[in-house]
């Protein structure tokens, strides 16, 4: 049966190649020469034929080209010395390519003779690979390197509340971002009240953000995919690295299980802030940890097995300003079993079994009111993906994905009882909501000519919950037209569906969101997005620039009805209201990849609105994540071979919020409150003050010897978050001056200037 299936697959996939005779295919893995770690997105090119390919997320590549006596190929990857190889007349060849890391970026100008030019050569838009190096070099809050903070500095991406890791992409809500760690969904990627992400940078291999022009293999969210891959582990030697910051320490240990064949990596991080907080505060406690572990084993030339697990947990309570109290316990656990298999040298497959478990118990109190919410999500996911490269012109991907969701949400919002006995939620008592989500897709990256390529495909999601089935057909297409060697014009259209919804609270200053799946009453969110972009590289790809414009419409957006007070027995489906959203904007991105000065500048001019028949008198209003202007500068400069100065500057328009426009006197003695009521005229009619912040850090990195004997690499990082200590607004609330009876607006700010120091080591 399997053989017949293989034949059928081959027949379908090789059809496009029948018109050509005498082809050579080279395939294999591109790896780091020292660690044998897969290099994701490395370029393999045949300059003479002007064709090329890139390694996939497992480092695998396959390139087919007309057979010649000898063919020169060039393999390159940012930060690595390029390799040139000669292929002698052969029909097919399996070659693993090892690249040596460049010793210092000071030398990169020389060694990177041929650099990755995917941004102008590939039919992809809205895709940004974030170098781990950049994440490690940017100034950080309290000395903790952070993937998601770096993401917030990219064009089209807006940060959430001050200091938090939440991000909003092209006008979409938080839930519209699919965050995956080794293909497992991470529903809440944050630590420390959302100030840090759960991802330990030392365990991460690659980070890719896709915010438009989604290839068909991705789906389930409207606005972005954040694809994070863990390292596989050093296959040649044991390496230990770690760091001590002000609030936490981390340790990563990796090495071979069987040299060059299998390896492991285990990385753990734990806060010790709770030890200090015990001394200074009885009302504020904080503890978090996360553990990443991964094992991989090459079963043979054609099979590779990966097992990765992740567990992160937070337990916190915070009593701050009078208006703000917060207590939470939440955690993510994921486990992935993945199997790579090669069918010949043209078909690569990955089959995964994934489990994730997320829970969030959150109690917040503001003024005299509190909210307790609980969300539990368990997903069991099975998927299989195939990548076939039947010819030079086609890279075909197809696959299927099935997820079984179990959600159990619950919430209570009420006045704090006089005796302080707040109602607690027992997760076992919550009604479980079961649903199934499946998707099938096929995608072809088709090089029509040297100057024209198209990436097109279709994805068919099917969702079922409580007997209600939703299905749709999602067309996807991205085209690239090269205007010259370093310039291309691209356009894309994508349609997306989303079956899980995070219902946001527009008023609460602290997270008060509840996850729900689609149901009879909650239709799937859908979006249509078109984008147009001009991409140009300068100075032999040293500087990448892009200008993208996008227009996105979103249907079946979910918000709570006005005045909804949730009690434990509230049917959440009945307190929601549905509407549509629209977002459009221009994004400018300038990135310098090499040299002593690296970094980027991004600017986004955008507008995001929503319209709900039951809200704002049915009129359109700015969405809570609308920021007209969003400017980010991130740069790193190598002062010497050991000292690096890094800085980032952020500016964005303030968050919209709703202010009453008028007040109405209502007669009637004896009300528990005053007799003035609000006359609202527009939702989100006011804005917090614009946000801006400068962070800087200095790092000193060099080889040292412990006890003058044991060599190791050490790094000191000194940083300042919010250098000029600007009191950026966290939220504004209204009160009444007791003396004058006049309304007053009060602004709460967090995070003044915060110095930090951290120490990192590696041996």
């Amino acid at each position: 049966m399997l053989t017949r299936f293989k034949k059928l697959v081959w027949l379908v996939l090789l059809l496009p190649t029948l018109a050509f005779a005498q082809k050579t295919t080279i395939s294999g893995y591109i790896k780091d020469a020292n660690t044998k770690e897969a290099l994701i997105g490395a370029a393999i090119q045949i300059p003479k034929l002007k064709i090329g390919a890139t390694s996939n997320q497992y480092g695998y590549y396959s390139l087919t080209f007309p057979t010649a006596d000898t063919t020169a190929i060039l393999i390159s990857y940012n930060g690595y010395q390029p390799v040139a190889k000669q292929i002698v007349n052969k029909k097919s060849l399996q070659v693993d390519i090892l690249l040596q890391q460049a010793n210092s970026t000071l030398n990169e100008v020389v060694v990177n003779a041929n650099r990755n030019e995917d941004n102008v050569k590939k039919a992809q838009m809205g895709v940004i690979d974030i170098p781990i190096r950049a994440i490690k070099e940017l100034p950080v809050l309290l000395g903790e390197h952070d993937i998601l903070k770096t993401i917030q500095l990219l064009p089209g991406v807006q940060g959430g509340q001050e200091g938090t890791t939440g991000f909003y992409v092209r006008g979409g809500n938080l839930d519209q971002n699919l965050i995956q760690l080794d293909e497992a969904t991470v529903y809440n990627p944050s630590h420390l009240f959302g100030l840090f992400s759960t991802f330990n940078v030392n365990a991460i291999n690659s980070v890719k953000l896709i915010k438009g022009g989604f290839p068909s293999q991705y789906g389930g969210r409207l606005s972005s995919i954040l694809d994070i891959k863990m390292k596989e582990g050093n296959k040649t030697k044991f390496v230990t690295e770690g760091g001590l910051g002000l609030i936490s320490g981390n340790l990563t240990f990796q090495g071979p299980i069987q040299k060059n064949k299998s390896s492991f990596i285990i990385s753990a991080r734990r806060s010790y802030i709770d030890l200090f907080l015990k001394q200074i505060s009885k009302t504020t406690t904080y503890r978090f940890y996360d553990i990443n572990a991964k094992v991989n084993y090459e079963l043979g030339k054609n099979d590779h097995l990966f097992i990765s697990v992740f567990k992160g947990n937070d337990d916190a309570a915070y009593t701050g300003a009078n208006s703000l109290n917060y207590g939470t316990n939440f955690g993510n656990s994921t486990a992935s079993l993945r199997w790579n298999h090669l069918y010949g040298n043209k078909i690569f497959s990955n089959t995964s079994l994934i489990y994730n478990d997320y829970h969030l118990q959150l109690g917040t109190a503001q003024n005299s009111y509190y909210q307790v919410l609980y969300t539990g999500i368990k997903d069991i996911n099975a998927k299989t993906d195939f990548t076939a490269t039947p010819s030079t012109k086609h890279t075909i991907k197809f696959g299927a994905n099935y997820t079984y969701h179990t959600l159990y949400p619950g919430a209570i919002s009420a006045k704090i009882p006089k005796k302080g006995n707040k109602v607690a939620i027992n997760p076992d008592s919550l009604t479980k909501r079961y649903s199934s989500e499946a998707a099938f897709y096929v995608n072809d990256d088709y090089q029509l000519s040297e100057n024209l390529s198209v990436n097109y495909g279709v994805r068919i999601p099917v969702f079922n919950a409580s007997g209600k089935t939703y299905t749709n057909i999602e067309p996807r297409i991205t085209t690239r037209l090269s205007l010259n060697k370093s310039t291309s014009l691209k356009a894309s259209y994508t349609q997306m569906n989303q079956f899980v919804h995070l219902v946001p609270s527009s008023t609460a200053s602290l997270p008060a969101d509840i996850w729900l799946t689609s149901s009879n009453k909650i239709k799937p969110q859908t979006s249509n997005q078109v984008a147009l972009g001009l991409f140009k590289n300068f100075k032999d790809n040293e500087i990448e620039t892009s200008l993208e414009v996008y227009y996105k419409t979103m249907n079946n957006q979910v918000l709570f009805k006005e005045g909804t007070q949730i009690l434990l027995n509230t049917n959440l489906d009945n307190v929601l209201t549905f509407g549509k959203g629209k977002s459009y904007g221009v994004e400018l991105f300038i990135k310098k990849n090499f040299g002593r000065l690296t970094g980027w500048a991004s600017y986004t001019l955008s507008k995001s609105t929503q319209q709900f028949p039951d809200l704002n008198f049915g009129n359109s209003f700015p969405s809570s994540y609308d920021r007209t202007n969003n400017l980010s500068l991130a740069a790193s400069y190598e002062l010497t071979k050991t000292w690096t100065l890094s800085a980032d500057l952020v500016y964005y328009t303030g968050k919209p919020y709703t202010l009453p426009a008028g007040k109405v006197l209502v007669y009637g003695d004896g009300s528990l409150y005053d007799n003035y009521y609000y006359d609202y005229t527009n939702r989100n009619n006011s804005r917090l003050k614009a946000y801006n912040r400068l962070d800087i850090s200095f790092s000193n990195k060099k080889q040292a010897k412990l006890f003058k004997k044991f060599p190791y690499e050490r790094e000191w990082v000194f940083g300042f978050y919010n250098v000029y200590s600007r009191a950026n607004p966290y939220f504004v609330y209204l009160g009444v001056d007791p003396a004058t009876k006049q309304p007053q607006a009060k602004q709460v700010s967090l995070l003044p200037i915060i110095p930090s120091v951290s120490f990192n080591f590696k041996f």
């Binding site: 701050g320 109405v664 110095p755």
Partner: protein, 298 residues
Amino acid sequence: MKKAFIYLTIISLGFILACEKNITVKPPVYKNKVSIQGFIEPDSIPIIYFNHTVPYFDKAVKKNQLIVRNAQIAISSSNSTDFLKLDSIFDKIDCQYNFFYRGHNKIQRNTKYNLSILADGKTYTASATTDLGAPVIDSTSYVTNYNDLYGEHEGVIIYFKDVSNQTNFYRYEMKRSADTSTKKAEAPIVSTCLGNGTIQVNEIGRAVFNDVGNEGKQLKIVIEPAYSHKKGTKGDIYIQSFDKNAYDFFAQLDRQKLAQYNPFIEPVFLQEGQFGNAAIGFFAAKQNSSFVTFIYPE
């Protein structure tokens, strides 16, 4: 070194002490409206409150600044027309005059009345029919702890019979006396006008109720008293029955206050009522029950 590390950590965690300050915000553009609030009840003289609304940050909060003067207000039925005159009564607790327009003729039962207001060149109209039956209070009691939408609170419990064959809307009213030792919503009554004497207060519940699903049945409502009390404090309890226009208005006020104080609730916009977008408010028929004297047990 260890100490320095601890100090640095503490400084770095300075954000735990969040900074809070008063700020000046740019007031939203607001076009002033008027508010019209008036019940008509059989055998009573009609009273209409007719005020300006003002921008939220406006300093005009005194009732004499808000009243719309020189309005021509008439309440007419098929038989008669009553022209209302501006009047006022001194509120000793608020230490200011309450202003309203008062009619001359008593309202008749089972009669349709039309309200017409002409002010500043604009006309506002609405109508109401006095055909509501009076609910009957069966009994009352008291509970020290009660949990509902409004949180945990003490409660005055009222059992009353829904009026049959009508869609009814209700709220609570208690007439009692108060003095400077009385607290309102847990805050002492501070008034230079009150002196040492006592005054009659009219405590009206903010929550409103309907009889959906309970047609003709006995209803139970639990009210959080606004004014403090001692053992033996007496009050006369009424149940007000009124029409849907008043219910819609007061229901959204109640939801708005909940949202105004509870930061986890979406703000409630006042929707257009009988007067369209020209005015906020209601003109409605009302019928009180007979009163029952209630004595606080503690």
